[in-house]
């Protein structure tokens, strides 16, 4: 396999090393003011909208969206593009329904908002559990992907060597989050987003220039090289099961605004207006990036060719790096490889700090210590949680290396859309919504999404299932969203009707509504 590698692994490592050095310096400089929980979890709420918007793009554009979508378009044509549209349109839900109201009412975590006017302990515990589950699935997918990336970019074929690299990436991530907190994590994400979008932009212009800026000509070439005109229309990947794709599309478009690590980013700005500007910046950056990947995907099909991509180590994920090599030789390949590593690092860091904040703030401080932890104790617990989660992520990444766990990202979106979104929307927009409704919706959404995926062809009984050789699937779709999302919305209504006798605090409900819309009493930025 090593023989099919292109470029120079040493150069790739060197460029990545430069990225790590620069970001480490920034992280250490940024970490000077990490004293309170607001500093550690929310970067003192001191980022501007454009900065936070870039960080959101850096957090959101994971290796799956860069390497994965380019590869999917290069091999399966149009169906790869479908993914990115769902990922983008989803941001309208975050912009219109969630970002500003959440910033105005919460402090650090998603559970802050969900438990604002409901009974604290049960709702907080349930919200923390769904947060941890989503982060865990997402984290595992990223770390498992790192193994394949190592094979591709560094030419390391043995599993032991890959395990070492996964451990190094994980250890770096722990260092960033431990030292830098949310501030350090944010800077890593900003730098990565700038590099990723610039890199993809340069490659896009380059590819278009090769075809005389004639996109139609590029498409013709892609068809000619791959010998398959069907790549220009939908159907190659999902043609046999469009219901499954509809289910995936629902999860993508409704899951984004309920991803805990995305929600947490809205607390890093001083006001709701800055939260709005963050999303606007994120939408522009993410939207432009996905247009780039459309060109890059077809460009890889035309210039590199699907045969070469399929046979390269890393398979579809190698489309973008191989295209970089064809265009700019080993140097551009090195830059794109470093960006890909930076991507994993930045996304994993964002997930880890979110999970740590949820455990420490929601479970430890609010539930175990009943809202009165000793001064400084909450941040200390958060830092220990970072270490534990980091080690779990490394072990999970090593074990899952080489397994087909691509469905985990889709599952994370499905769980977010089912377990979190209904309760977020109801508690922000429906005055009569109560604790019973929240519990039914969160637990029902989580359980149905996870149970359906366990008994789906993604786990057993399919050609590409995670577990081969046994078949215990009875749910026909690989994506549970089409069942679990409406079910969770319905359970929220039914639970609310069932639990109606127990009155919630009307004063708290009024406070939440007034604060969410006006920003009265919203957490201010810290001043140092």
């Amino acid at each position: 396999m090593g023989g099919t590698n292109v470029g120079s692994p040493l150069l790739n490592i060197a460029i990545f090393g430069v990225f790590v050095l620069i970001t480490l310096v920034i992280v250490f400089r940024a970490s000077r003011n990490n004293r309170t929980a607001a500093d550690y979890y929310a970067a003192g709420r001191s980022f501007t909208g454009p900065q936070n918007g870039s960080a959101i793009a850096g957090d959101y554009l994971s290796a799956a969206s860069f390497l994965g979508i380019c590869g999917a378009i290069a091999l399966n044509g149009y169906d790869g593009f479908l993914y990115s549209i769902g990922f983008l349109v989803a941001w309208l839900v975050a912009l219109l329904l969630v970002a500003e109201l959440l910033r105005n009412t919460g402090r650090f975590t998603m559970a802050d908002v969900l438990s604002f006017r409901l009974r604290q302990r049960p709702v907080r515990i349930a919200a923390a559990i769904t947060t941890l589950v989503v982060c865990f699935f997402y984290l595992l997918a990223q770390m498992a992907g790192a193994g394949g990336l190592v094979a591709l970019l560094l030419g390391i074929d043995e599993r032991a060597g890959q395990a070492v690299v996964i451990a190094v990436v994980g250890a770096l991530m722990i260092l960033y989050v431990l030292v830098g907190g949310m501030k350090g994590t944010t800077w890593v994400q900003i730098i990565k987003a700038v590099l990723l979008i610039l890199g993809a932009g340069v490659m896009t212009v380059w590819v278009l220039a090769l075809f005389g800026f004639n996109f139609s000509g590029l498409l013709d070439n892609a068809v000619e090289v791959s010998g398959n005109p069907a790549i220009l229309a939908p159907g190659l990947q999902y043609g046999n099961n469009p219901v499954d794709f509809l289910s995936l599309g629902l999860a993508l478009v409704l899951g984004t605004a309920a991803l805990p690590h995305v929600l947490m980013r809205f607390y890093t700005v001083p006001t709701a207006k800055e939260a709005r500007r963050s999303v606007v910046w994120a939408i522009w950056l993410i939207g432009i990036f996905y247009v780039f990947t459309l060109v890059l995907g077809y460009g890889a099909a035309a210039i590199v060719g699907p045969e070469t991509i399929r046979n390269a180590p890393g398979g579809p994920n190698s489309a973008a790096p191989l295209l970089a090599f064809e265009l700019g030789g080993p140097v551009l390949l090195g830059i794109i490889s470093a960006v890909a590593f930076a991507t994993i690092l930045a996304v994993v860091a964002g997930l880890t700090i979110t999970a740590a904040a949820s455990f420490s703030h929601d479970i430890y401080a609010s539930v175990v210590k009943r809202g009165e932890p000793k001064p400084g104790q909450e941040v200390k617990v958060a830092r220990w949680t970072v270490v534990v989660i980091g080690i779990l992520a490394i072990l999970g990444g090593i074990v899952a290396n080489g397994q087909n766990v691509a469905f985990l990202v889709a599952l994370a979106f499905a769980v977010a859309a089912s377990a979190n979104l209904p309760t977020i929307i109801y508690s922000l927009f429906w005055r009569g919504f109560n604790t019973t409704g929240a519990m039914w919706s969160m637990i029902g959404g989580l359980a149905s999404a996870v149970i359906l995926i366990v008994f789906s062809p993604a786990v057993s009984g399919g050609a590409t299932s995670m577990i081969q050789g046994v078949d215990f699937h009875w749910f026909p779709l690989a994506n549970p969203g089409i069942v679990s999302i409406p079910l969770a919305f319905l359970l929220g209504v039914v639970g609310t009707l069932v639990g109606r006798r127990r009155l919630e605090d009307p004063v708290k409900a009024a406070e939440m509504e007034v604060r969410s819309l006006t920003g009265v009493g919203a957490e201010p930025a810290t001043r140092h």
């Binding site: 593009f81 007034v514 604060r515 819309l517």
Partner: protein
């Protein structure tokens, strides 16, 4: 700012939120907010679902070439991106004109009542 995890945000029972909720000004803010965000979100989601359904069940229609080899599917996909950008900018304009001034009014009224409030956090 401390590490206290109690409640969500600075608790301000000194403000009578139920009274604020009943004012005409707040009701108008709520009406303006909901009458924009709810229908626009619904329309955007429906438009996205139409696109997904077309991609799932109308392959031939999506494959119809329009500009050279650029077909209906690719144009509709790009159109999704364009409408997302457009809705974003329209909402920003609406919020700046119709929501922010009203919210600022209510906020400064409340902050006038209670000098302990932190105006800097709600710029």
């Amino acid at each position: 700012m401390g590490d206290d995890a109690l409640g969500t945000g600075t608790s301000m029972r000194t403000v009578d939120y139920e009274a604020v909720q009943r004012t005409a000004e707040f009701r108008e803010l709520k009406r303006r907010h909901r009458s924009f965000v709810l229908p626009v979100t619904a329309a955007a989601l429906v438009w996205y679902l139409v696109y997904v359904v077309l991609a799932g069940w109308a392959h031939d229609f999506m494959a119809t070439p329009v500009l050279g080899s650029i077909n209906v599917g690719i144009l509709l996909g790009i159109l999704q991106v364009v409408t997302t950008f457009a809705i974003t900018m329209i909402y920003v304009g609406y919020a700046n004109r119709r929501l922010d001034p009203l919210a600022e009014d209510i906020r400064s009224d409340l902050e006038g009542v209670d000098p302990d409030l932190e105006p800097s956090g709600a710029r």
